[in-house]
Amino acid sequence: MLTVSNLNQYYGGSHILRDLSFEVPTGKVTTLLGRNGVGKTTLLKTLMGLVPAKTGTVRFGEADLTRSPSHARVRAGIGYVPQGREIFPRLTVAENLEMGLAVKPASAQVPERIFEMFPVLRQMMKRRGGDLSGGQQQQLAIGRALAAGPKLLILDEPTEGIQPSIIKDIERAIRALAESGEMAILLVEQYYDFARSLADQYIVMERGEIVMRGEGKNMDADGVRERLSV
């Protein structure tokens, strides 16, 4: 379980994250919603150690990760699907997936499940990541994060650019991963329907602050959609 408390974050001088506190429990999907530019991606980057937290703590299970470098967080069991895919353009698809196993011993294999979810990856094993189409890259990014079997999966708008049928597959897969009870999932999503159908609990951000939170099933009732479109 990921526990974030009193997190503050600045870019230069502008206060981007204001005193955030929340939990991402194992076995559940936590969705984070918010309009463009409210700081969702910044929050995830802070969780990954890509930008240092100014104040506050990030704990994962027993460990305090607030000051750890990114790779230590991955080692602790966090998987990350960044916004904008960020695949390694000149590595082949196979190598990109192997990169997902960087914290595993060299003998580790890419789980078969990933190819079931994204068959196109198998077809394109030898192609360089940068040559894939946008949607294919997105699938690769998700596959890469899942390869090492993380205990916490962080996804930043994972459906962006993906064709509807595969979005459905992803939805099913996330559901299944959460229900297996071994994984905590933090999902940032603009696509409301998708977010709602997956959310066990939700968080809404506005200008760096959490302004709403609640059970996933109450999202409609709580008026989250309206809140997002003010």
């Binding site: 991955v74 000149r90 940068g130 890469r144």
Partner: protein, 533 residues
């Protein structure tokens, strides 16, 4: 002419008279004289003495180890002084000993005498060298010697050399049949000197042909064409070889850069100095071997290889930790800082080792050359370097393409933050990769020490070429660097033969400029949609 007469006398006598036991003291005294003519006469006279007795004396003379001490002639054999006249070792080194010095003229006579004597040596290698020497200077006077040697010789290779020498020597024979035979057997030669001789037979400048016999002339024409073809083949082989050899050197100089720059994106202006570190390490290792293990001296290069890698890698680690680490993502700043580093390293070398070049000798197994073909002499050090380049290339390729480390390195350089986010300890990978690139540069330095200067400035001479190779090949493309290096090497060498070194170099540079117009991303351009963005 005088020299030739002496030669004749010496060789003739050697061939006919049985060996006599002791050396004539009068001749020995002349050997120690100041005048070259005296020395030459003495050598000629002594050459007919017992080979066992005279060989060591001649050897000593040719190695500056013969001394005049008062009225005695002594030679130095290892640590002991031996009285030449008596053949007995002296108890104490003579005071007032003065070396008998020789000049090239004396040395030529001496070499011929030595070669003649050595034709009958028991070691095959010695005879082989002697046969080569003899055949290079074969003339009618030494025919009897050759006959005698041929009669004794069993080794086919030496025999062949002697037969050729015999043929060469017989060209001047008054007997037309002998000449014909000689001309025919010389068809197997590829020696430009033979071509010269045959061409002279066909010379018609004095009205009639120099060679009176028509049949011999016809055979000479036939042989000449064969020889000329062979020489032409030899020349082209030689040129290709020199091209490949230059290419392998360019490659060794550039491989380290292909990693530090090509893969990691660090514009490492101190790359040349890493080569220098490798070369100085080689020199230091050589010095250590000379002092502490002279019997293993020939192996110093082998010992230098791992050491140069380690030392250069450590320098690389220091550079990375102290400077470059703070500059990732600011590639052009690395240019400035590494230029500074290169100045510091050069000056450090100058202060520690002095501004002069250091002497690095090829181990004996890398000295000299093998004659692939007459005219195409392949120096052993060049061959060794070509092999070494292949070896280093293989290592680099395996490391970058076949290991996880290589993959991590490539990933880190393509997307540093994301590499961290899949669990790669990016900083450690950076250091490691830079260390490896530097180590490879160190290996390049070992190779360079075998053919070029070892001095504080040596690296500066390679930096332009190294970058050219990496860039021409296509940044980050190992295969590209290989082709670029080889291509540049061969093109340069062919142009050089035709236009001279300076123009060739200018042409090659212009060629590169034009070539990049056609392939703006180098020979092995990265293709694909990600290139632009």
């Amino acid at each position: 002419m005088v020299r030739l007469l002496f030669l004749l006398a010496l060789l003739a006598r050697l061939a006919w008279s049985p060996a006599c036991a002791a050396l004539d003291p009068a001749q020995l005294a002349r050997l120690g004289a100041d005048d070259s003519d005296e020395k030459i006469a003495a050598i000629a006279a002594l050459a007919s003495a017992d080979p066992e007795a005279v060989l060591p004396v001649f050897k000593a003379l040719s190695e500056d180890a013969l001394f005049v001490a008062g009225d005695k002639l002594v030679r130095l054999d290892g640590e002991t002084y031996i009285d030449v006249a008596t053949g007995k070792a002296l108890a104490a080194p003579p005071d007032n000993a003065e070396a008998v010095s020789i000049n090239n003229r004396v040395r030529r006579t001496l070499d011929a005498a030595l070669a003649g004597l050595r034709l009958f040596a028991s070691e095959r290698e010695v005879r082989l060298t002697a046969a080569k020497d003899v055949s290079a200077n074969a003339s009618a006077e030494i025919l009897p010697l050759l006959d005698k040697a041929l009669a004794k010789e069993a080794d086919p290779q030496i025999k062949q050399l002697l037969v050729l020498a015999q043929a060469k020597a017989s060209l001047g024979s008054p007997d037309a049949a002998a000449r014909l035979k000689a001309v025919k057997s010389l068809a197997d030669s590829a020696d430009p000197a033979v071509r010269q001789l045959l061409a002279a037979m066909l010379d018609k400048s004095s009205g009639s042909y120099a060679e009176p016999d028509e049949a011999v002339r016809i055979a000479a024409v036939a042989s000449l064409t064969q020889i000329e073809r062979r020489i032409a083949v030899g020349e082209n082989l030689g040129r290709i070889f020199t091209g490949i050899s230059l290419g392998s050197i360019l490659l060794l100089a550039a491989l380290g850069l292909a990693i530090t720059y090509g893969v990691m994106g660090v514009i490492n202006m101190a790359h040349g100095e890493l080569l220098m570190v490798g070369a100085y390490t080689t020199w230091v290792v050589q010095g250590l071997f000379r002092s502490y293990a002279p019997q293993w001296l020939d192996a110093y290069v082998l010992a230098a290889i791992p050491l140069a890698f380690v030392v250069a890698a450590l320098v690389g680690v220091a550079m990375e930790r102290l400077v470059i680490r703070h500059l990732y993502g600011r590639p052009l700043e690395t240019l400035l800082a590494t230029w500074g580093l290169s100045l510091v390293l050069i000056q450090a070398a100058r202060v520690i080792f002095g501004p002069q070049n250091q002497e690095v000798a090829n181990p004996t197994w890398m000295s000299g050359g093998i004659e692939l073909y007459a005219g195409a002499m392949l120096p052993l050090n060049r061959i060794a370097i070509i092999g070494f380049a292949l070896f280093v290339l293989l290592i680099v390729w395996l490391m970058m393409q076949k290991t996880r480390l290589g993959m991590f390195v490539r990933a880190v350089t393509q997307n540093r933050p994301m590499a961290g986010c899949v669990g790669v300890p990016t900083r450690r990978i950076d250091t490691l990769a830079f260390a490896i690139g530097s180590g490879i540069a160190g290996l390049g330095g070992v190779a360079l020490s075998q053919i070029a200067n070892v001095g504080p400035d040596m690296g500066q001479g390679y930096i332009v070429d190294s970058f050219l190779v990496v860039v021409l090949g296509g940044v980050g493309q190992l295969a590209g660097a290989v082709w670029a290096a080889l291509g540049l090497g061969i093109v340069t060498k062919f142009l050089e033969g035709w236009a001279g070194a300076v123009i060739a170099k200018i042409l090659v540079l212009l060629f590169i400029i034009v070539f990049i117009q056609k392939r703006p991303q180098g020979l092995f351009a990265l293709k694909g949609r990600f290139v632009e963005n």
